[in-house]
Symmetry: C2
Subunit: 144 residues, 2 copies
């Protein structure tokens, strides 16, 4: 469904967000330990996310990553997915046909229409903040 990069991205953002909620800035090292991801690879992903203003990066001692409360309220999952994986997941044809559309549908077009819409809506309607709340309430988990 999502690439590994995208899975790491979402996991990292959520972890950073929980820490930011507590007023704590968190380092790459912490993040990759906590979400169990390869450090250097995660660094690249976080770089991309901060370039796209999903998160803030601060260099130097006591540096690290942060997500302002305003940002986690505003940013939806779909933005992260778009940055890392693009939008093939919810716009592309299930069978990989370029010409597939409403007029010339592939054999799976109509079957997948609903599913793709569901995925799109889910990603569109889910903010980081919402997911962080569940994490803080101990309703969901990030490890392993």
């Amino acid at each position: 469904m999502f690439s590994k990069a995208c899975q790491y991205a979402i996991r990292a953002v959520l972890y950073i967000a929980t820490q930011s909620e507590q007023g704590r800035r968190t380092s790459l090292k912490d993040i990759s330990k906590e979400i169990d991801s390869p450090e250097a690879f995660t660094a690249k992903i976080l770089q991309q996310l901060s370039k796209n203003s999903i998160l803030l990066s601060i260099k130097g001692p006591n540096g690290g990553f942060e997500i302002p409360d305003e940002t986690m309220k505003r940013v939806k999952l779909i933005e992260i997915v778009r940055i890392i994986d693009g939008d093939q997941l919810f716009t592309g044809c299930a069978l990989g046909l370029k010409a597939c559309n409403e007029e010339k549908p592939c054999p799976l077009h109509n079957q997948f229409l609903g599913i793709r819409t569901n995925i799109h809506q889910l990603l569109e309607n889910t903010t980081i903040k919402k997911l962080v709340n569940d994490l803080e309430l101990g309703l969901t988990f990030l490890k392993r």
Copy 2:
């Protein structure tokens, strides 16, 4: 969603099936031309499918591939997907967590529960035959 190999697999099976319906055996060359896929790569995929008795392969002059009517009635999409891509798509965790389950759900677990169930049901309930009917009625298309 599906790997390229899996997209080719489904497209090939559907094309072979439409031909089999007409009593025509079809060659690798034809298939890859009709579904616009790399020939040698498609050969590997068809090999896998015939090993798994999704289709029949016949060597020699006038050889090629066939799908008996009984088979296309019986075989569901999920079997093809399982053979080529495995079942990660409908069993794995969206965030790639091994330990994710009902008791210790990842932050996306509940959101994706419905979608994954939908995908699973769709693949489980869709036979090759059903898709071939739509193709023959000109309701759906396989090219590009």
